[in-house]
């Protein structure tokens, strides 16, 4: 049987080995790609998809409506309200401070610029629990600034102010980073053009700079939002998760698990997951707009 086959192959002696070699190297490459994809998928599956899937499974087993109905109890609503207020405040404050900070860092040259630039990244590196502890050391009963806040009649630890400070701290970098990055990319020529056309610094900011960074700012705001909603460590340490007072959505889940109130825990988790999905879609859209969509 082998003889006729080799006779057929004779007229083109070189071609078969070469093509075989090529296809086998292509196979190896494809195999490699599959293997790499498999490893990545397995990793993401273990740390991302499996736990989220387990949660989804449990929630479906319990009944999503049952889970969400458990959120109608007063303490759950108060926790949600607290998270909403903290998030709105942190988004608004960080959007304003972040944009101005980014303009200062990118457009101006001043002595402490590198330090401020580095400091704005600090919250990314510091554990939120540590941040909470630091604020307690500052504003707690024996704290360095305790007498000042007492004189002003402000209660920080185990109070709303503390929750807000913690949330602001952890969500600070996102708008600064995003807006600074876009500003750097933009360069200064449009702002210079506006100046030669007679625009005041105020007009330049609102009519040229701000519209140009809008997608970066929106992306930063969504990141701030996600971070603020999800913050746990700092608000737990600073607020103490007092039910109905300083409890937030995340600390509510924590306490519910502790008290084996599964329905409440699942309900709140489901709600936060839905918020996350919406945020994720928004982030993807703005990411697309930010890179190329606006050009």
């Amino acid at each position: 049987m082998s003889e006729p086959a080799s006779a057929v192959a004779l007229p083109v002696p070189e071609a078969p080995p070469r093509s075989r070699a090529r296809s086998s190297s292509a196979n190896v490459r494809r195999l490699g790609q599959f293997a790499l994809g498999g490893v990545v998928l397995a990793y993401l599956g273990t740390i991302l998809i499996a736990p989220l899937g387990a949660m989804a499974y449990e929630i479906i087993a319990l009944g999503p409506l049952t889970a969400l109905k458990s959120l109608l109890e007063p303490n759950a609503l108060l926790a949600l309200r607290m998270t909403a207020i903290l998030t709105v405040l942190s988004v608004v404050i960080n959007a304003v401070v972040g944009t101005l900070g980014a303009v200062a860092i990118v457009r101006h040259r001043f002595p402490l610029r590198p330090l401020i630039n580095a400091l704005s990244d600090l919250p990314l590196a510091v554990s939120p629990v540590m941040v909470g502890l630091a604020f307690i050391l500052l504003f707690g009963r024996e704290g360095l600034l305790a007498s000042l806040t007492a004189a002003l009649g402000i209660k920080v630890v185990f109070a709303f102010t503390g929750l807000l400070l913690g949330t602001l701290f952890v969500s600070l970098p996102y708008t600064i980073r995003e807006v600074a990055y876009v500003l750097e990319e933009l360069g200064t020529s449009e702002e210079e053009a506006a100046a030669t056309l007679g625009a005041s610094p105020f007009q330049i900011f609102f009519r040229v700079t701000l519209p140009n960074v809008r997608f970066g700012l929106a992306y930063g705001v969504l990141m701030t939002l996600a971070r603020s909603v999800g913050e746990f460590g700092a608000v737990l340490v600073l607020g103490g998760s007092i039910s109905g007072q300083t409890q937030t959505a995340t600390t509510f889940i924590h306490d519910a698990i502790d008290q084996r109130a599964t329905a409440s825990a699942y309900g709140m988790a489901l709600l936060l997951a839905l918020v996350s999905i919406v945020l994720l879609l928004g982030l993807e859209w703005f990411k697309h707009k930010k890179h190329g969509g606006s050009r």
Partner: protein
């Protein structure tokens, strides 16, 4: 507007971008700042616009001090090399921007924008965004935008640097026509001598932050005052030579030079079209290469004892009869200049561009 600049200097670190520049520009003229990249011409333009502040020196606009005037108070239109159009605004909004920020009424803006769209040949493109335009169209929008507030001075930084050759030629002619219509005093920066000479009334040659020479294009071409100008303007041949009387000698090449040049070592500068070359044996050179460019022929030869020389001739020139690669040739220099060799250290020797 008439512009007067006195002893203007600007350093970036230790680099002298503008070095003690003084100049005067007449009302209504179209002036080119011509120089190699890094010569400081753009910095000078940005100082005039108020986008950069000078370390020392003064600027007057119509005899009013303008040195410390903020960019937005100068009434200067600036066209950026890469357009710098507002990408989030339409063409109409871009053009109207300078009027809008000054609080001009909507109807007036609308009328002015329509007029400028017509003047710049951008009919029907008013609703587009900059990203939807070609390079040439963007450049015209940038010009229309700069002209809208009726500036006293129009400054253009390498205005045609970012468009392709054909569009560039169209835009040049268009800028010249536009200037003849609008008559606003205009200064543009370019590194392209053809652009400077074909568009401007007056050319200022800039080198190392200084004005080497200023004058009408023909004067710059015919009477280059410095070796830099002689070398930078036009295709030139440069030879180390010795001067005796007003005759320069470089190897076998002898040339009568214009003006008084001190006896001794010098650089002989000969334009590639200021020489005759014909077949003759023995002659003084060997022809090496003949290249035809449409209506012109470029002949490259090697002069005995002096090195390569380049000459341009009209395609049908009788001088070219019998010229072929490898033949011997005689050379006669019709016009040449020489500059004392001391100044040579400033400019490295280079072959013709």
């Amino acid at each position: 507007m008439r512009i007067r600049v006195e002893h203007l200097s600007k350093k970036f670190g230790t680099f002298k971008a503008v070095d003690d520049v003084s100049l005067e520009i007449e009302d209504g003229s179209l002036v080119a700042l011509l120089g190699p990249s890094g010569s400081g011409k753009s910095t000078l333009l940005r100082i005039l616009a108020g986008l950069e502040s000078a370390d020392s020196g003064n600027v007057w606009f119509d005899d009013e001090p303008a040195t410390d005037l903020h960019a937005r108070m100068r009434g200067v239109g600036f066209v950026f090399q890469h357009y710098a159009l507002f990408r989030h605004l339409t063409v109409e909004q871009n053009i109207g921007f300078g009027l809008d920020v000054r609080g001009v009424g909507k109807q007036t803006i609308k009328r002015k924008v329509a007029e400028l769209l017509g003047l710049t040949g951008l009919h029907g493109l008013g609703g587009r965004y900059p990203s939807q335009l070609s390079g040439g169209q963007r450049q015209r929008v940038a010009l229309a935008r700069a002209l809208a507030p009726e500036p006293r001075l129009l400054l253009l930084d390498e205005p045609f640097g970012a468009v392709d050759a054909k569009v560039r030629e169209e835009l040049r002619q268009w800028l010249r026509r536009l200037h003849d219509e609008v008559h606003v005093t205009s200064i543009f920066v370019t590194h392209d001598q053809e652009e400077a000479f074909s568009v401007a009334d007056r050319v200022l040659v800039v080198n190392k932050g200084r004005i080497e020479q200023g004058g009408p294009p023909t004067e710059i071409l015919d009477n280059p005052e410095t070796e830099f100008v002689a070398r930078f303007v036009g295709d030139v041949n440069v030879f180390p030579a010795t001067i005796a009387g007003n005759i320069a000698t470089a190897g076998s090449l002898r040339a009568r030079v214009l003006g008084d040049v001190p006896t001794g070592p010098a650089h002989l500068v000969i334009r590639s079209y200021d020489l005759k070359l014909w077949r003759e044996d023995p002659g003084i050179a060997t022809v090496q290469r003949i290249v035809t460019f449409g209506d012109r022929v470029r002949v490259q030869a090697n002069v005995d004892g002096a090195g390569p020389i380049v000459a341009f001739f009209p395609r049908r020139s009788s001088l070219l009869r019998g010229i072929e690669s490898g033949c011997r040739a005689q050379i006669e220099v019709t016009t040449a200049r020489a500059y004392p060799a001391e100044s040579s250290s400033l400019y490295p020797m280079s072959t013709t561009a």
